[in-house]
């Protein structure tokens, strides 16, 4: 049974509070070849609801998902728009392939907004049922614009052909309760619950810039509304600023052909073959079905890549305390565990029977999804908290409060280092001793974010703003810059990149900020040495970010692409070719053709071309918002090398050897500081050289701006795109 019971009286009270502020009736269109053919526009300021056509240009140029999101948002905002401006939107879309049930990882939604952390456009992908059900309810995307006066719910009822803005004074704000309430309130009978999905945040999103969105999916086998997170960039903060408690979609008619694909037979054959591959290969590869993404914690620790103590180090002797077995006791591993139908990769992990030790729900026994690797690494290892129970508790509270576990973990690790360095003291922190390893202090910071009080609110502003605040306490701004793990205002996700130049740029050049979903090249680069030259790295930094972008255009999860491989992948292919997993790329070619009927799409290169269009458009979008140039691709030095003598000495043998082999100097007789600075000069120069090479490969000028020739070749030389580029390049071609 669910850990949150919603009584009949509670349901009646919630319903009684609903007041219809606006209503829009429509005839749900039949989805055709992956598209509903229209998007939904909701304005909360003036209670306007409308359907907008999705035309052929949108499909051809922007494909769907993140592409649609970006196009709709581009047209909604101007260069002066801030995250809290009324015209800013939360835009959510699946994509043409999204919602098929036969292939693993086909239920993703992509959310886009102007970010409270970066000030520019951010995208975040997420599982759960909302995106696919929204499409089957009749809309390829939803735009939520404006600011409501009162707390509201937006209901999209695809069964009835009805969209409503409902005043919702009684509902919970925190997501673990709200998702159950939405399922209970809008299902006429229990069987309808699986056709309901909500998007919500929580009270933490009200008080921080790192609010996440929770997307629900109702697990009929476990009778729980489970949550997946669009974590990055503070989109939950935007949603709460709009006074939205939930976006709710209802669609009860899901079948295996709801997407009305052009060629169901090929989809069935491709999907069944992939299910079989996972059945045979996952148990001898990554065991995603058993452990989820947290299997990575051991691997990263083994390879000195696990962030420890604010990315100072890449491993720790206590790391085994947060490896998968420490969470297994809470996991119910029985049967399917995917966040969309047919995902046999099944990396979602469900913990039941966990009793909370802190916070407003202290003493309650709850259920929670996860924890993912990023959460374990960010809140556990990076903050030095080798306590699986504390990590799981923080996971629950981050989710229900609507706080991104990655930004939370990375921001807190930064604050902890500042505390240990004496930049902060207990007077500033309100009495909290923010030492690495203090799980109770970590939880208290989190609850302060939920309550909107204390030093937690400062941490919740994110690292970029903390750097400014801490500099006012007299800290050295350069030191704060060096150890503050953010680029563009977004906190790093959880990989140490010091020994991978390619991944330093993978993070630094990422469109939204340092998130690994755009590029993850550490093993290819630092462990396997498969991309040794600048040109090799630049090629990888072209191909992989473009390829990974493609998943977001189509409503897909990246994991089934390369978290399992065909048995012969490494014998048929080698190096970067093997890393592309060509057989799986071909699966995606087949899926796209079979859903959309587009016979002009014949190869993986055709898929990458779709991404190039959207990726470059997003880069120009950054430019439009006042960013998107080389200075915004600069990285904190800690992501490139040791900032302190302490760090240098922790891996002195490695660094000394590099000075001899790579820099060409003999370190004997040099002080640690001298050696560290010599290494720094070398590594910073390497980064700049790589950035030059990547810009050239991508068709950008040396300030990181797509050239007019590039946008023309991609067919996105719309007048306003050209205008933005010209304004930043003095009209140069």
């Amino acid at each position: 049974m669910a850990s949150v019971e919603i009584t009949k009286e509670r349901i009646e009270k919630l319903k009684a509070g609903h007041k219809v502020l606006a209503e829009f009736r429509y005839e749900p269109p039949a989805v055709e070849k992956g598209y509903a053919g229209q998007s939904l526009y909701v304005n909360l300021s003036d209670n306007e609801i409308a359907a907008k056509p999705v035309d052929e240009m949108m499909k051809k140029t922007f494909v769907g998902g993140r592409g649609f999101d970006l196009w709709l948002l581009w047209n909604a905002v101007n260069g002066e728009t801030k995250w809290d401006s009324p015209e800013n939107e939360v835009v959510i879309a699946a994509g043409p392939i999204g919602g098929i049930t036969q292939y693993p990882g086909t239920g993703k939604s992509i959310a886009v907004s102007i970010s409270p952390l970066t000030g520019s456009v951010v995208d975040s992908n997420v599982g759960g049922y909302f995106g696919p059900l929204l499409k089957f309810a009749g809309f390829d995307a939803i735009e939520v614009q404006g600011l409501a006066n009162e707390e509201v719910i937006v209901l999209i009822d695809g069964d009835e052909g009805l969209v409503q803005i409902l005043e919702a004074p009684e509902e919970s704000v925190n997501s673990h309760q709200l998702a159950e309430e939405m399922a209970a309130v809008f299902a006429q009978k229990p069987a309808e619950k699986r056709g309901i999905s909500s998007v919500s945040a929580g009270v933490g999103a009200d008080h921080t810039r790192m609010g996440c969105l929770n997307f629900s999916f109702y697990d009929t086998r476990r009778e729980v509304a489970r949550l997946k997170q669009a974590g990055r960039g503070g989109i939950g903060t935007v949603l709460r600023h709009k006074k939205v408690k939930a976006l709710v979609v209802k669609y009860s008619g899901l079948k295996g052909d709801s997407n009305h694909p052009d060629d169901l037979e090929t989809i069935q054959e491709t999907g069944a073959r992939m299910h079989r591959e996972i059945y045979e290969r996952d148990p001898i590869m990554f065991e995603m079905r058993k452990d989820g993404t947290n299997h990575l914690t051991k691997i990263m620790n083994d390879y000195d890549i696990l962030p420890v103590h604010n990315f100072r180090y890449g491993a720790h002797p206590d790391a085994e305390k947060i490896y998968s077995p420490n969470f297994q006791k809470y996991f119910e591993y029985a049967g399917p565990d995917g966040c969309w139908y047919g995902c046999t990769m099944a990396c979602a992990k469900f913990a039941r029977g966990f009793t909370l030790r802190s916070g407003p729900y202290k003493g309650q026994t709850i259920t929670v999804d996860g924890p993912e690797y990023e959460t374990v690494a960010g809140i556990g290892a990076n903050c030095g908290i080798w306590d699986a129970d504390a990590v799981l508790e923080a996971n629950f509270y981050c989710d229900t409060y609507g706080i991104d576990t990655i930004s939370f973990g990375t921001s807190l690790a930064f604050a902890m280092e500042c505390y240990e360095e004496g930049i902060l003291n207990s007077e500033i922190t309100g009495g909290l001793a923010l030492n690495f390893g203090d799980g109770d202090a970590m939880l208290e910071i989190l609850h302060q974010m939920g309550r909107g009080e204390g030093f937690g609110v400062v941490v919740g502003q994110g690292i970029r703003r903390m750097k400014q605040i801490f500099a006012d306490y007299g800290a050295d701004p350069q030191f704060l810059q060096d150890i503050g793990m953010e680029v563009k205002g977004l906190e790093y996700s959880e990989y140490v990149t010091k020994e991978s130049l390619a991944q330093q740029a993978g993070y630094g050049l990422a469109n939204k900020g340092p998130q690994h979903d755009e590029a993850w090249l550490i093993f290819m680069d630092a462990v396997n040495n498969q991309i040794p030259t600048f040109q090799d790295k630049a090629e990888a930094l072209h191909y992989f970010p473009m390829w990974r972008t493609w998943f977001g255009l189509n409503g897909l999860c990246k994991l089934p692409w390369n978290d399992v491989e065909p048995a012969d992948n490494r014998t048929r292919y080698s190096g970067m070719d093997a890393a592309k997993v060509p057989e799986h790329v071909q699966n995606y070619v087949q899926l796209f053709r079979s859903v959309t009927g587009r016979q002009d799409i014949e190869s993986g290169d055709d898929l990458v071309r779709m991404s190039e269009i959207v990726y470059n458009f997003q880069r120009v979008f950054n430019l439009k918002m006042g960013y998107g140039t080389r200075e915004h691709d600069a990285i904190p030095y800690r992501s490139a090398g040791p900032v302190t003598d302490l760090e240098y000495e922790s891996r002195a043998e490695r660094y000394d050897q590099q000075l001899i082999d790579l820099v060409g100097i003999v370190p004997s007789g040099m002080s640690t500081t001298e050696k560290r600075l010599a290494l720094r000069r070398y590594r910073e120069d390497q980064y700049n050289q790589l950035v030059d090479a990547v810009y050239e490969r991508r068709g950008w000028n040396q300030d990181g701006i797509p050239t007019l020739a590039t946008v023309r070749a991609l067919g996105i030389d719309f007048p306003d795109v050209v205008e933005v580029i010209r304004a930043h390049t003095n009209g140069d071609e």
Partner: protein, 130 residues
């Protein structure tokens, strides 16, 4: 547990069981729609593939559409099925099938019609301990 039990030795590869099965459940003679599959191994030897009612598919189904009935037979509630074919990929014996004319997969439900028609007794319905 009611199970269709196969015995390769007497099978003569007449495929009558396949025809009976597809005719019974899909009203057409189409071996691609049969829940029992007969494959030639050469030298007049045949492989018979049919569901063992092991129930692995019940555990993999995300919607609870697959269930075991009172006779121990694993059956599919089509109205609950979303056609994901997870059960096809995860069937240990490869005896959950699909056909592009239909969204839902299909399997042997031990109805015994094929056993009745089999001319050599290569397939029989038996009651096995659960």
């Amino acid at each position: 547990m009611k199970v269709l039990v196969t015995n390769e030795e007497p099978c003569i590869g007449c495929h009558l069981c396949e025809d009976v099965c597809s005719q019974a459940w899909y009203k057409e003679i189409n071996r691609g729609l049969s829940s029992i599959r007969i494959t030639s191994l050469g030298n007049a030897e045949w492989a018979l593939a049919v569901c063992s009612q092991c129930g692995e598919c019940v555990d993999i189904c995300p919607t609870g559409a697959l269930y075991r009935d009172k006779a121990g037979v694993v059956r599919l509630k089509k109205q609950e099925c979303v056609g994901c074919l997870s059960c096809v990929g995860f069937c240990p014996n490869g005896t959950m099938y699909f056909h592009d004319d239909y969204v839902e997969p299909f399997k042997c439900i031990s109805c015994g019609l094929c056993a009745k028609e089999c001319p050599t007794g290569a397939i029989t319905i038996e009651l096995l301990p659960d």
